[in-house]
Amino acid sequence: MSFRMLFPQSMLWSVVAVFSLACCSCGQSSDTARSQLVLTGSSTVAPLAAEIGKRFEKLHPGVRVDVQTGGSSRGIADARRDLADIGMASRDLKPNENDLLSFTIARDGICVIVHQENPIASLTDQQIIAIYTGDIENWKDVGGPDAEITVVNKAEGRSTLELFLHYFKMENADIQADVVIGDNEQGIKTVAGNVNAIGYVSIGAAEYDAAHGVGIKLLPLGGVAASIENVRSGEFPLARPLNLVMKSEPQGLAKEFIEFARSRDVHDIVEEQYFVPLAD
């Protein structure tokens, strides 16, 4: 008998507990709204913003900075609909997004990578275009071994893709890709696992991985070596901003946070995440 009672009751209680907690959270959110900042958006910016947030929390006891990912489009949509205090985007705002304000907190370059064992030391812009549009399909046509090129491209809509296309003045429809990838590390792992692959990724990630024994090689672009250093100096031609996005002029805590994220106090964090800090 006691057993029989126990079973449904415990079920009931678990449901009650869940719902009461749910109610608590509803009530709570309005009280803590003032001391909590929610950031959503780009997965590229998220690790950086999370680390900046941790330091910001230390300097402002009682404040909480919650960083969520989901992509640049989510960051922009959430900032617009007030679902987040601040959005994150790894690209410039588009013309139809001029209702928003953007604040650059760091920069990031994009470089072309090949497998470590690939003897090619550099490619001209024309050669890269020819490889990506399918006019050149074999490495021997650019002075490499006789092997078919595996072209690694980014998925439609990604900001790295858009910048890459813009720089080389190509249309995505022209590109003959063999592999389409999402995040940077996927690109690096794909190229590292395929001797004949060529791809393009964020410089910071590529430089870190190449220095830590991952089998990739960074190719120079327009004669400029691909390195964080050259992005910082402005010499490297292909770079993108990492932005925080807001619907209206930031105030209060959001303002403090954005000012902090743009200040010299976070330069070490930016460098730790292999991005380029803002110039002073």
Partner: protein
């Protein structure tokens, strides 16, 4: 002469039976080989993957790794808060989905005929639900739990979203457990004048335990392994959660972020995967033990 004939026919008989036995042994041998090779392939792949994870991850595991908070986007520090969040998300998911799932399974298998329209509707929708991609669950959970119900990015939202996801698995496996309970049980219970409630609780539930356990194991496995649905619901925050209303990063999300988004995160990604597998072993054991103890033993005490 008669004797001779008899002996001869015996010999013939023996011969044919031997001949038949070779032929009848052939499928036997093939079947045995097939069963063993299936097992070998599965074990081989398992050992391959596990060895890969262990080789890359074991070096990073230490007490500090298990308890400390992550630093530098997870490249340094540990996964303490993430383990706590993972367990809380799983607890919420199971607290909601187990009663709901077992209840539905009982109704489907015991109280509706296979031909009834309601039963058919629920089963068909569950089958469809089983194939909904996790990312759709994530976006759905985000819209319903986080925004519409106002739970925000929280462990609660994540757990509730996961519970929607594991329901079909849980229900179908549990239902299978009930279906295989011999009909004699039900008839004897009816003959003894037991109420449906006590028939269910005293007889059927204990007898269906193997199915329930499989449902739990598969459900826990799916819940612990889930990434896409959680990024949009329980979130990305790697702080120690203060309550179920806080956002908390699950281990699988952490592994995904480290391996796909953070340069140099692989070592900790593999280590986290190893921890996740260990948590899985533990929760599976606890689930089986509880199910056995709670449900299985009652058939004796009844």
């Amino acid at each position: 002469m008669v004797k001779e004939k008899a002996v001869k026919s015996q010999a013939v008989q023996f011969k044919t039976s031997e001949k038949r036995s070779i032929w009848s042994h052939l499928p036997e041998i093939i079947a045995t080989c097939a069963a063993w090779s299936a097992a070998l392939v599965v074990t081989g792949v398992f050992v391959w993957i596990l060895a890969d994870v262990v080789r890359h991850g074991i070096g990073a595991i230490s007490w500090t790794f298990l308890t400390a908070a992550p630093r530098n986007a997870g490249r340094e520090g540990g996964i303490g808060p993430i383990i706590v969040s993972t367990i809380l998300i799983l607890a919420v998911c199971m607290a909601v989905s187990v009663p709901l799932g077992v209840g539905t399974a009982v109704l489907l298998s015991e109280y509706t005929s296979p031909a009834s329209r309601f039963g058919r509707f629920v089963r068909r929708s569950l089958d469809v639900l089983a194939g909904v991609p996790s990312i759709v669950f994530g976006l759905f959970g985000n819209a319903v739990f986080c925004i519409y119900l106002g739970l925000g990015f929280s462990i609660l939202s994540g757990g509730l979203t996961l519970s929607c996801m594991v329901l079909p698995i849980l229900i179908r496996a549990t239902e299978e457990g009930f279906r295989s309970v011999p009909n004699d049980y039900r008839m004897s219970a009816a003959a003894l004048g037991m109420s449906r409630t006590s028939t269910l609780l005293q007889l059927l539930l204990p007898a269906a335990v193997p199915g329930v356990i499989v449902g739990l194991v598969l459900g826990i496995g799916r819940a612990l392994a889930e990434t896409a649905a959680l990024i949009f619901t329980s979130g990305y925050v790697d702080r120690m959660p203060g309550s179920l209303a806080d956002s908390g990063r699950s281990l699988s999300v952490h592994i995904f972020d480290l391996s796909m988004n953070v340069a140099g995160g692989d070592r900790h990604a593999y280590a986290s995967a190893l921890v996740l597998i260990m948590i899985l072993v533990a929760t599976n054991a606890i689930a089986s033990w509880t199910a056995n103890r709670w449900l299985g033993k009652r058939i004796l005490t009844a």
